[in-house]
């Protein structure tokens, strides 16, 4: 029997992927989002409003079987109050409304940012979260609310994705693609031999839907099975692009200072999340998701960054009207780096 899914953040990048997947499965879909989607699919219901507003969220949860909660203020938003109110209060509103509406299952999309820079890799669901910046802290607090909700009788599963890639995912990645397309060098911090795992939006959506179908609260860390270092991932990209772009190293310390300074004066599209974590190793052991959800990611780091880049090439002249992750960033001072020989 078709069930009704509420996709919060359904107009955003990853939410949109989820909406399509739910529709393919024959489920009814409702979106709660502050923005309307660029294209509202047939049969999809839209509740347009603020996740922090109790009445809006209650209306959105009415008659819903499963909630896929993806609304978040991402690092690019850079506004601490917004981080907290959307990621924490917004999540509380969704969980309360879901519980009161008798929703069977909530899948909460969290973030690997809750782990900060881990003391050791791989990170498992047993690793203690130790976030380093405001975004990770807010996402961790939202997870604490999920634990409260579980204690009060709601079935909530937490999914923590590594950095999401896929066709249509821009955000900070657009700066990289822009450089590659122009044949300009791209940069890693330090040697770039930090192991950095991505996850493809389709694989992540698959994990979320499998989690939605599995009764009982749990938490799953999800990321690609095939991944390498940051340098290897970027080298796969520049090689595939064939624009003459090369991967170069920047010294970590000065680069972090520069990223921070440029971002402080609003001259570059970075948040602490970026300068703290870009050069660090963080990778998940995804055994639990693979075993309990029978999930297996299809795409490797290299495949997905190439796919994502190719999508960018085909769409870069389009108008950007969506969320942070659907829009390219403004390069600002980064434009100077691009002109270096």
């Amino acid at each position: 029997m078709a069930r009704t899914f509420l996709v919060t953040g359904g107009s955003g990048y990853f939410g949109g992927v989820l909406v399509d997947r739910c529709l393919e499965r024959g489920d009814q879909v409702r979106i709660l989002d502050v923005n309307a989607p660029s294209e509202l699919r047939d049969g999809v219901d839209l509740v347009q409003g603020d996740v922090r507003d109790a009445d809006t969220v209650r209306a959105a949860c009415d008659g819903v079987d499963v909630v896929l909660h993806n609304i978040a203020q991402v690092p690019l938003a850079r506004d601490r109050d917004l981080f907290w109110s959307v990621n924490v209060s917004g999540t509380a509103q969704v969980l309360v409304a879901a519980r009161d509406a008798g929703v069977q299952k909530v899948v909460h999309t969290s973030s690997s940012a809750v782990y900060g820079i881990p003391e050791a890799n791989p990170v498992t669901e047993q690793t203690k979260p130790r976030p380093l910046e405001a975004y990770g802290r807010a996402k961790l607090e939202a997870e604490a609310l999920c634990a409260d909700a579980t204690r009060s009788g709601l079935d909530v599963t937490i999914i923590r994705p590594r950095t999401i890639l896929g066709h249509g995912r821009l955000g900070i990645m657009s700066a990289l693609y822009d450089f590659v397309a122009a044949g300009a060098p791209v940069y890693v911090l330090g040697s770039g031999d930090n192991r950095y795992q991505f996850v493809h939006a389709d694989d992540l959506a698959d994990a979320c839907l499998r989690a939605a179908d599995r009764a009982g609260p749990a938490a799953y860390n999800v990321g690609a099975t095939e991944f390498g270092t940051m340098r290897e991932t970027l080298e796969a990209l520049v090689e595939s692009a064939g624009t003459g772009s090369r991967v170069r190293s920047l010294p970590v310390g000065p680069a972090r200072v520069a990223m921070r300074a440029a971002s402080l004066i609003g001259a570059a599209p970075f948040a602490p999340y970026h300068w703290l974590l870009y050069s660090e190793s963080l990778w998940f052991d995804t055994a639990r998701a693979r075993n309990e959800l029978d999930w297996s990611p299809r795409l490797s780091n290299a495949q997905m960054i190439v796919e994502s880049y190719e999508w960018y090439l085909g769409h870069r002249d389009g108008e950007a009207t969506g969320s942070h992750h659907q829009s390219p960033v403004r390069l600002g001072l980064l434009g100077l780096l691009k002109r270096l020989p």
């Binding site: 109790a54 907290w84 979260p129 802290r137 604490a144 409260d148 009060s152």
Partner: protein, 323 residues
């Protein structure tokens, strides 16, 4: 937050007033016994909603401002005016008991490191905050004396534990790095209270019949010399497997004395600086004797300073606070 969590499972309904609208759904998530009213304790309309349809309730009055942002006016508006309004609404709704959360600041500082405040110690309020809390206590005493309702005053000293304010988290972080200064030789003692111990005391104050009309100091077992407070915090970090660094910086006692005078001067002009205020108090012995609570309420602190600090550290880490 600690008190509210302790009330789940023991009460059929808990009506609470919160200032921040964001807290309403967070409380609703913990338990559906909570019936949350969002509003300001200075607003009679909010209090009318708070007490609507409530009778024979136990009222815990914990709303107060300790460190106002810039101006001292809030001490009196919130701590005195708010208490007056809540008391009044509690009387009119026929509340069974009013448990008033007060502070060590109504008594100021002890003359020497071996002195302890008892419930018989005279009022000697420390600055604007102490004065406002004294005035609030007097309002509560008057209501009790008139037979308006049963009241219990609980005086808590420096508290720490889960849901602690950011200033307490900063204290832990600076102590870990060996940057928290002792003012004087650090032999001055402080009573402290772990949040769960305080909650135990408040629940006893609400339930023990003989407590009606009484005042109690509720704190951890014994006051601790300031230098041992810091040493215990550092030991707690080590016990949690975290490194500590730095030494134990000292400031001459004179710095504290000067800070106290500057604080007094500022507050006379209606201004408030948290840093100067705290610096002014660091030299003092602020210690209390919990014998009466032990005797009359059967209160016994369950968590000692080291264990309490360890739990505070774990809570901070689990909630993403950097230490």
């Amino acid at each position: 937050m600690n008190l509210l969590r302790a009330l789940t499972g023991t009460r059929s309904r808990v009506r609470c007033l919160v200032h921040d609208p964001a807290q309403a759904p967070q409380l609703a998530l913990i338990d559906d016994v909570f019936d949350v009213v969002v509003g300001d304790v200075r607003d009679p309309t909010a209090l009318a909603t708070l007490f609507e349809g409530v009778s024979a309730a136990t009222v815990f009055h914990a709303a107060a401002v300790i460190h106002p942002a810039g101006r001292t006016r809030e001490f009196f508006d919130v701590n005195v005016g708010g208490t007056e309004l809540v008391l009044d609404a509690a009387v009119r709704s026929g509340s069974a008991r009013f448990v008033h959360v007060s502070s060590n600041s109504v008594c100021g500082a002890n003359p020497g490191p071996d002195d302890r405040f008892t419930e018989e110690s005279p009022y000697a309020p420390y600055m604007g905050y102490g004065q406002s809390k004294e005035e609030a206590e007097r309002l509560v005493a008057r209501a009790s004396d008139r037979g308006d309702l049963e009241t219990v005053v609980v005086r808590a000293p420096w508290f720490y534990g889960p849901f602690q304010p950011d200033r307490q988290t900063r204290f832990l972080a600076t102590a870990r790095r060996g940057r928290f200064p002792l003012v004087g030789d650090g032999s001055n003692r402080r009573s402290m209270v772990y949040t769960q111990n305080l909650v135990d005391g408040l629940l006893l104050a609400a339930s023990v019949p003989a407590a009606a009309g009484r005042t109690y100091w509720i704190a951890d077992g014994e006051p601790v010399a300031m230098r041992d407070v810091i040493a215990t915090v550092r030991a707690a970090f080590v016990a949690e497997g975290m490194e500590v660094s730095g030494g134990s910086p000292r400031m001459p006692r004179l710095v504290g004395v000067v800070a106290e005078h500057v604080d007094a001067l500022l507050q006379r002009g209606g201004r408030y600086s948290q840093t100067i205020h705290v610096l002014g108090e660091l030299k003092d012995t602020i210690a209390c004797d919990i014998s009466r609570a032990r005797r009359e309420l059967g209160y016994e602190p369950q968590v000692d300073l080291l264990e309490g600090m360890r739990r505070s550290i774990r809570w901070c880490l689990d909630h993403g606070h950097a230490l």
